[in-house]
């Protein structure tokens, strides 16, 4: 029997009516002869509401208790979805992350999946049941409830799809698939029929919110076929899969942007070995996600060092740097949260030259100044002023003939 794992995001199960709609869709897949395992997120903005409750109690909740709190959201959704499926005459059963054998490390609120041992899921699938699994949560080796961080349900779905040997992992969401650019900014953006794991990875880590980076990494590693599609219609979405020869023919697959980062510049850092290691080691220890890092060549014994971090972690990052001041003897630290990052992603870059120049040219023509540049084999990212980022996305979408 072929198995499909379907994942429903929070907006797709935000109300009892939507849950019933999801149940109908699940049942229709079952009727087609598939075994179905469903991974579900908390309803609508539940997670935010729970976080808000915690804020009213304390500014610094313990990670363990926060995970205990947040993991309640999926329990509600999964029980309701399971009831809805049952009420349509198809046996269903819901399992928590722990019951599904989603074993993680012990890092609360940002746990990583270490193993999936879905024995109970397999047993119930074998009995012909539809199994509903709580996304976003797992259990540590010490039997503590953990959560996987934002977007963690995607990761649960991919890990489960691999562990169960699923034919496909459908990510059902509130958009029709992966687009060449955010359609709210570029109305002429096109939905992509297919995209490679690597391209999707770069788009996701560059701000495209349709999939969580970690889930794409995992899908790539275990060759899990992803199908990103809308939960509100039956249209085919975007297939995320292994790279094929003809994929390289496309220079730029899509444009992504991210306006949730802030830039930190440390000025006049002594230019000696070990300085960068000390700074970024300290940030890593504080679990701060550093994205781009730029250091200019120095000619005066000191250098300026810039990096970007999520805006939400800016204060924490500044605190980290401040603690290094006496040791480092840098001049000062400047924070700037009026920036945004725009990125172009495409396998074709590997075999074509001049892509970067074309990008910079397109931005220059619009009078947009580039503040930082970072490149990978299949991605170029530029930091620009935040108010200019939409203009930048539009210009690049046009320049690379994506309309």
């Amino acid at each position: 029997m072929n198995l499909i794992v379907q994942k429903y995001g929070g907006t797709s199960v935000a109300t009892p009516e939507l849950i019933k709609r999801a149940a109908l869709r699940i049942v229709s897949l079952k009727k087609k002869g598939y075994d179905v395992a469903v991974v579900i997120s908390a309803m609508g903005d539940t997670t935010d509401r729970l976080l808000n409750l915690a804020t009213k109690i304390t500014d610094r909740p313990s990670g363990r208790e926060l995970d205990m709190l947040l993991s309640s959201g999926e329990r509600v959704a999964m029980a309701l979805l399971s009831m809805a499926i049952n009420s349509m005459g198809f046996p269903a059963i819901s399992f928590t992350g722990s019951q599904s054998g989603i074993v993680t490390d012990t890092v609360h609120t940002k746990a990583r999946i270490k193993a999936v041992r879905p024995y109970r899921v397999q047993e119930e699938l074998k009995k012909g049941k539809i199994v509903v699994v709580a996304g976003f949560q797992g259990v540590s080796p010490e039997h503590e409830v953990t959560t996987l961080g934002r977007g963690g349900s995607d990761t649960t779905a991919v890990a489960l799809a691999y562990a169960l040997g699923a034919e496909q992992c459908e990510i059902l969401t509130d958009v029709d698939g992966v687009y060449t650019a955010d359609p709210r900014i570029v109305p002429r953006a096109r939905k992509l029929d297919a995209i490679s794991y690597d391209e999707m990875l770069e788009l996701a880590s560059s701000g495209a919110k349709v999939l969580h980076t970690r889930s794409v990494e995992l899908a790539k590693q275990y060759k899990v076929l992803l199908h990103v599609r809308s939960s509100f219609n039956e249209n085919p979405g975007t297939i995320v899969k292994e790279e094929e020869k003809q994929m390289e023919e496309i220079l730029v697959r899509g444009i992504a942007y991210d306006d949730s980062e802030a830039k930190v510049t440390i000025r006049e850092v002594p230019d000696r070995p070990g300085v960068a290691a000390r700074i970024f080691g300290s940030l890593a220890q504080a679990n701060i996600n550093v994205d781009m890092i730029i250091q200019n060549v120095s000619d005066s014994g000191t250098t300026d060092m810039s990096f970007t971090v999520p805006e939400s972690e800016l204060l924490q990052a500044l605190g980290c740097i401040e603690k290094l001041r006496t040791e480092m003897e840098f001049k000062d630290v400047v924070a700037d949260n009026d920036i945004a990052k725009v990125s172009i992603v495409g396998l074709g870059m590997r075999s074509h030259s001049g892509v970067a120049a074309r990008m910079f040219q397109a931005l220059a023509e619009k009078g947009i100044n580039i503040e930082m540049i970072s490149t990978s084999e299949i991605k170029i990212s530029c930091v620009v002023r935040r108010p200019e980022v939409e203009e930048a996305v539009k210009a690049l979408h046009k320049a690379f003939e994506l309309e």
Copy 2:
């Protein structure tokens, strides 16, 4: 180190502010040198809200999924309470029913505690932590989440207090203790300083809502000292304990009433052996809680049989009886949900005669008709018209000199 188990009901933790207040109270107990384990209910009307969500999905949710759904409520409350205690500088940790070793049978939504194996709770108490335990929930031998039914948190608290060898089990609630009658009906009702397990049991099963019957049964069985008191002030409440000699001197300890039941009368049932067993066996199989049962002496080969059930189970009960119609050949079934039960409870009844007569006289003087009577060693209950029940409570409170 002496240990106290405190149980906070839903109204005592309905908002983040109230949770912080509960945390302060818990911390002050800890400061006095006690080890503290806290059993907590879901916040305010959470359980009702969750039930309502389920109703929007289906009329007949599976018990297993309902338990999965409902058990999320205490997780939220316990994580928040634990955060609040932590933020006051006292280490706290929360455990689900499963993590606390609350092992139940497999009857979903009405499970009974079979064993308490609080190893993790004990371990953390030993480390000096305040342990917060989810009330109302447990885990079946098949590793399924179960719930204990309405008022189940009281039962969790008593079972845990026994298993941990607690000095006392404090039930913190929104009233000051156990009263001689409902103070909303009888403004001159008095708070009792102490009451025996048996009296409390009869009051609870007669409609006094301050404690759940099952929790009192358990407390009696294991001799757990209960202290029912308000979470909103520091006043001493009511101690529920083993019977003492002088307790018998009080004829009637308190008056209780219950207006949530309905009466069913089966008319002209053939008066032959096995009929009652068949009827009540059938109701028991459907898990319907039958309270009072009356059968009159017959002189015509048939008899009328009346019983009361919770109003919420009336339709189901009627369905059960209807199925027996061909087999039983009774005439018809009459349902009446405009009734209420008023009860007087007191150890003194055992050694004093004339109590029943005094009760009937007091009701007669107010022109209140008695429809059914049922007695136990320390309780007399009468069914009256529902609109007359408040008048009945007042009359009895006065007649037995409880003011």
